[in-house]
């Protein structure tokens, strides 16, 4: 059974983060939210494993504080 990876696994974290933010450039808040939803579904399909996805959902849900952006 695969486990949720919570140790660093990105090849080039700064490149990824910059690309992620750049993908949102010029979008409205609603458009950004929709993009995020599509992105999550694409990544979920890439992961595939039900148990890993369930663990990811749980981990995200118990993050320290509600983000107040």
């Amino acid at each position: 059974m695969a486990e949720l990876t919570l140790t660093p696994n990105l090849d080039r974290p700064d490149d990824f983060y910059a690309a992620l933010i750049a993908t949102h450039d010029g979008l409205s808040d609603d458009e950004s939210a929709a993009l995020n939803a599509r992105l999550i579904l694409i990544l979920a399909n890439q992961i595939g494993d039900t148990e890993v996805l369930a663990a990811a959902l749980q981990t995200a849900a118990k993050a320290p504080e509600e983000v107040t952006a």
Partner: protein
């Protein structure tokens, strides 16, 4: 008249009348440098120590007040050490390794720079810029006494330049009136707002960041804060959208508050308002304010650093945000790169086109610094709601989960530039050689006897052989190459072998005068070495 634009911390080159001012026809100098800041003075040292006459012109008589740059990186100190003033910087500076990152009132994580053993210099020291500059000028005085042809001319303001194919004419104003000189080569080290760039009508394009930062350097009466770098995102004490606390020598602390774009600078700089921010942060602590300033910044560079007989270095050529300590540190790498090339060109041993490689290599360095400091700035001061949301999600996750920590970006601290794909690079033919010493890299230090490897490299071309045979001296196209013959066993700690051999059993490195690797092989091949030297000086 020449008015001071700022107060001086140290008056080090008072105005003196020069014989040039009484000359009937303008005196021609091989090199004139505009700007007596750290980059201008370091350039003068590099050239002067090669025996090349150089004149530095500055419209002030010394070093400006205010700590400004405070974080000096290992590579910058190694360069200063090659000029003979690294040690006093290290002795005066504060060495730090531990950084802590906070969000609101919670610690997100801490990092340790974990310095690798066997280097003469630590990863970073904190040192107020005026001290850094003073040590450079003191080294100039020492070199002058030993015969180095360096002149520092205070209160000499350049008012106009006329560029020609083979020289530049400069009109200068002094307290005794104007005079004219000529220069075979002019180097602009006159800072981010470079008057020289303006006089030549040259571009300086990039991105403006709409945020202001309030700096307060304070002396705490009873300070028991540790020597660590503390960075807050959205601090609970609300003194800024982010805040940095960092220790300097003399018991002085740098506090840096991000205070937004639309601020009334005058009002924010009033002592009571600065104290209100500091008190909220520090609580019941007594302190004295040493220096305050508000800065904004841009990330930008000139398209070209070479314009015929005029070369630009330091902030005059490129400007970055302060996150990552990439300003003065990259300027010193410019000097390191330019000095030996200009020296060879002036002595007629290399073609003028060698200077185009200064442009290629240092534009590459500037782009790397601009990319990194722009990304840090985007993380520290997110400019959209979604960007802010992702930033805070990273911070929230990083508190508990290691995977998110590499994404936290409170400044990617300056590491030396590798000239990958550079125009002077020769063959990278050491099978099994370590990546960190690939062609284009600055040589990493290693212990050697009582001292260090870098004490023996730089200033000229060196053939570094490790457990390999080679002649003790070679000359190619009038340029000498001296061998430094070592054995892996010379460093019992294994650092030398790990850094220069990797999986290989022997290695031969051609090292440039700026301590960068020009080529490497597993054994000596005379034809290949000569070809690599010619390539490294722009002949092939």
């Amino acid at each position: 008249m020449i008015h001071d634009r700022y107060q001086l911390a140290f008056k080090l080159y008072p105005y003196e009348r020069s014989a040039d001012q009484d000359a009937e026809t303008p005196v021609r100098h091989p090199v004139v440098i505009m700007g007596g800041g750290p980059i201008g003075v370091a350039t003068a040292l590099d050239l002067g120590l090669q025996g090349i006459p150089v004149v530095v012109l500055d419209d002030h008589e010394g070093i400006g007040m205010g700590s400004r740059a405070i974080c000096f990186a290992k590579r910058c100190l190694e360069i200063a050490d090659r000029y003979g003033c690294g040690q006093p910087m290290l002795d005066k500076g504060v060495v730090w390794n531990l950084g802590k990152v906070f969000h609101d009132d919670r610690k997100v994580f801490e990092f340790n720079l974990l310095p690798e053993q066997g280097h003469k210099f630590p990863a970073f020291i904190n040192l107020q810029q005026p001290y850094f500059e003073r040590f450079l000028v003191e080294r100039v005085r020492e070199a002058q006494a030993a015969g180095a042809p360096i002149e520092l001319r205070g209160k000499n303001r350049v008012d106009s330049v006329i560029t020609h194919d083979d020289h530049v004419t400069l009109e200068i104003t002094t307290p005794d009136g104007p005079y004219t000189i000529e220069a075979d080569w002019l180097i602009g080290c006159d800072g981010a707002s470079s008057p020289l760039r303006g006089m030549m009508g040259l571009d300086f394009e990039g991105r403006v960041f709409e945020d202001s930062f309030l700096i307060a350097d304070i002396k705490m009466m009873n300070d028991d804060f540790p020597t660590e770098r503390w960075f807050w995102f959205e601090p609970y004490f609300k003194s800024g959208a982010s805040t940095l606390l960092h220790k300097q020598p003399d018991g002085v602390w740098r506090v840096d508050f991000q205070i937004g774009w639309d601020v009334d600078r005058k009002k924010e700089l009033q002592e009571e308002n600065v104290r209100a921010r500091l008190d909220a942060m520090l609580g019941d602590v007594e302190y004295e304010i040493v220096w305050t300033s508000i800065y904004t910044f841009q990330c930008r560079r000139m398209k070209q650093f070479r314009h015929g007989r005029v070369l630009f270095a330091g902030d005059a050529a490129h400007q970055v945000s302060p996150f990552g300590a990439r300003g003065a540190n990259s300027g010193m790498q410019d000097v390191d790169n330019l000095g030996w090339k200009l020296g060879l060109v002036i002595e007629g041993r290399a073609p003028e086109s060698l200077l185009d490689s200064y442009n290629a290599e240092r534009v590459h360095g500037a782009d790397e610094n601009i990319l990194n400091s722009t990304r840090s700035t985007d993380f520290i001061t997110p400019k959209s709601k979604v960007s802010h949301m992702f930033r805070n999600a990273v911070l929230d996750l990083a508190e508990q989960y290691e995977f998110a920590r590499p994404l936290v970006n409170s400044g990617r601290l300056s590491v030396p530039c590798v000239y990958d794909g550079g125009p002077l690079n020769g063959p990278d033919a050491l099978r099994g050689g370590p990546t960190r010493t690939r062609v284009g890299s600055p040589c990493p230090d290693a212990p050697l006897g009582e001292g260090f490897l870098l004490d023996h490299l730089g200033g000229a071309f060196t053939l570094l052989t490790i457990d390999a045979e080679a002649p003790d001296a070679l000359e190619e196209s009038g340029v000498p190459i001296t061998r430094l013959a070592l054995s892996a066993s010379d460093d019992a700690s294994g650092g030398l072998a790990e850094r220069y051999l990797g999986m290989a059993t022997s290695g031969v490195y051609l090292v440039r005068p700026d301590q960068h690797v020009a080529a490497r092989w597993d054994s000596f091949d005379e034809t290949a070495t000569r070809a690599a030297l010619r390539r490294a000086i722009g002949l092939e």
